[in-house]
């Protein structure tokens, strides 16, 4: 990006201001807007692996579910105040998610291509089934987080700002990671892993790090979302492979995978569409979402930013010359 600094900062600043005042502007839609930030974090953390590193995971929902369960268990079993329990729980969720990521990463990240995709799909669903049978975490009935102690209506505002804060932290961290050596390394892994390894790159270390960064933010987010939704179901909420697990992939693809802003854009469009489906197609919204997945993947696999980059390469910092026609695609 060779944009002038002022222009490059204009969009994030506008989003930041809009995000800060959004609850005041549209108080009726606070929880929907909170979910918009959740979706953005989903898409961004998926894109770190799928878009930037070329490891298409269906199982990132694993970390989200671990974070959610860890947070609610801490809230249940440690007698702290509401807010301290929530924040300690979210931190515990993030730490546990990273630990699990590091532990299974060494085995799972050695799988390539479609084996990785199907393997991660399996691990996400297996986690849901295990949680559904484990009585300590409520078994199939799940868990209910404690009541929010503040005033009526304060809960939505609080969790709106909490998810907003997580999204606001995630984006610059990923941007900073992509701008340096780490970004180059994971892009090299995506483009040709064997060659990257032969060039002396410690691919396993980079892959595990990326996987753990993703796990950290998803674990943090899980606790907040568990409390926002108000109950933790093993298969439908925490380890929801066929909803959140696919949506994160889809949103990144819709916006344009492997770009910084693509997942944000894709998440926003997808979330609005999804809410419209809920409003106008009640009873059929899940069918409509399934159809939407097929349509996007089949007809629009490059995504919005991928398409725009092809159409106006000069806007994306590529000069219109041989370099762009070779590397721009």
């Amino acid at each position: 990006m060779k944009l002038p600094a002022a222009r490059a900062l204009a969009a994030p600043a506008a989003i930041l201001v809009l995000g800060l005042f959004a609850p005041a502007l549209a108080p009726a839609y606070r929880s929907q807007m909170a979910f918009l930030w959740v979706m953005i974090v989903f898409a961004l953390t998926w894109d770190l692996l799928g878009g930037q590193m070329g490891y298409n995971s269906f199982g990132n929902v694993l970390f989200f579910g671990i974070g959610m369960y860890a947070c609610v268990v801490v809230q249940r079993d440690f007698h702290l105040g509401y807010y301290s329990a929530l924040f300690v729980g979210m931190a515990a969720g993030a730490v546990l998610a990273v630990a699990v990521g590091a532990l299974i990463g060494s085995g799972l990240l050695g799988l390539r291509g479609h084996y990785f995709a199907i393997g991660t799909l399996g691990i996400g669903i297996a986690a849901g089934e295990l949680a559904g049978g484990w009585d300590f975490v409520g078994g199939g009935g799940g868990l209910v987080p404690p009541m929010y102690p503040g005033a009526v209506g304060g809960r939505e505002t609080f969790f709106y700002y909490l998810t907003f804060a997580i999204a606001v932290i995630t984006f610059p961290v990923l941007r900073w990671l992509y701008s340096g050596r780490f970004g180059l390394a994971i892009n090299a892994i995506r483009d040709d892993e064997d060659k990257a390894e032969a060039m002396g790159l410690r691919t396993t270390r980079y892959k595990t790090t990326a996987w753990c960064v993703s796990a950290f933010f998803l674990g943090l987010l899980g606790g907040a979302v568990g409390n926002l939704i108000g109950f933790v179901d093993p298969r439908e909420v925490a380890f929801a492979s066929s909803t959140y697990g696919v949506w994160m992939v889809l949103m990144a693809i819709l916006g344009g995978k492997g770009t910084l802003w693509g997942p944000v854009l894709g998440a926003a469009i997808f979330h609005v569409t999804q809410e419209l489906f809920w409003k106008y197609l009640l009873g059929w919204q899940r069918v409509a979402l399934g159809l939407l997945i097929v349509v996007i993947v089949v007809f629009f696999p490059r995504g919005i930013l991928g398409w725009a980059r092809e159409k106006w390469p000069e806007r994306f910092g590529h000069g219109v010359d041989e370099a762009a026609s070779e590397g721009g695609g």
């Binding site: 799988l111 069918v287 979402l289 097929v294």
Partner: protein
Amino acid sequence: MENLRLLFAAPPLSLQLLLDGILIGAIFALAAYGMALVWGVMGIINVAQGELVMLGGYAAYFLYRAGIHPLLGVPVAAVLLFFLGWGLYRSVVFRVVDKDLFISILATYGLSILIQQLANAIFGADVRTAESGFGTLVLLGGAVTIAEIKLISFVAALLAGAALITFLKRSRMGQAIRATAQNARAARVMGIDTDRVYAWTFALNAAICGASGALVAMTWIVNPYLGLPYTVRSFMIVIIAGLGNIVGVLAAALGLGVAENLAGFILGAEYQAAFVFGLLVVILVWRRFWLARERRYLA
């Protein structure tokens, strides 16, 4: 672990579990063989495999409700699903055949969610079964019992598989399918319409899944959400056996049936699904270390 001790205390019980597992295994083998066919010929991993099984089950169920014996429902379900598979290929799948593998996985995963939700909206979430009205065989003085229907569907599954293999070996289209699997470009040069071959392959796969689903509906139950475990089982069987290895597919499927039945008994039925998905991860990771060791040996 209480159940594990029970197994050692009563040997006929393990025989019972073993037999049940083997009899289920043949049904798994059908869907897995279809998956291997599509994977080998078209280069697509069809995640909607289990949903085709589920639809076959519903076809048999509705035929049974209409008064047709489920056993006759098996070929009818296969024919219905053949046309559905053809339609799916012509509308969606042909667009992802030559795309990146991940795109085809995601597209068929989307199809799987779509079909599952459609089935839920249309047929309802209730568990259904097609009563076949067969009795139960009692062996070893009552220690081992086998539902006759399980035995019959075992034989029917083997027959359906044999019919598909004969078709692939003998018919003109079967030869074209095998030629395309070997080298699609060369097949095209030799005048084979590969697009038509792909449509046939996908439709045949749907038909074999339909037959397998009808047997499932007759032997156990159908509901809209049973698809994904069947997909995962098929996938496991195929990666253990390798593509184009019929004996391997059958052996792996029977082994999986037994393993799953034993695990369901020892761990409890609520962990059976977790066992299937967990086993998938274990097999994939084991395969990678095994391949890595083999590479080191070669180097």
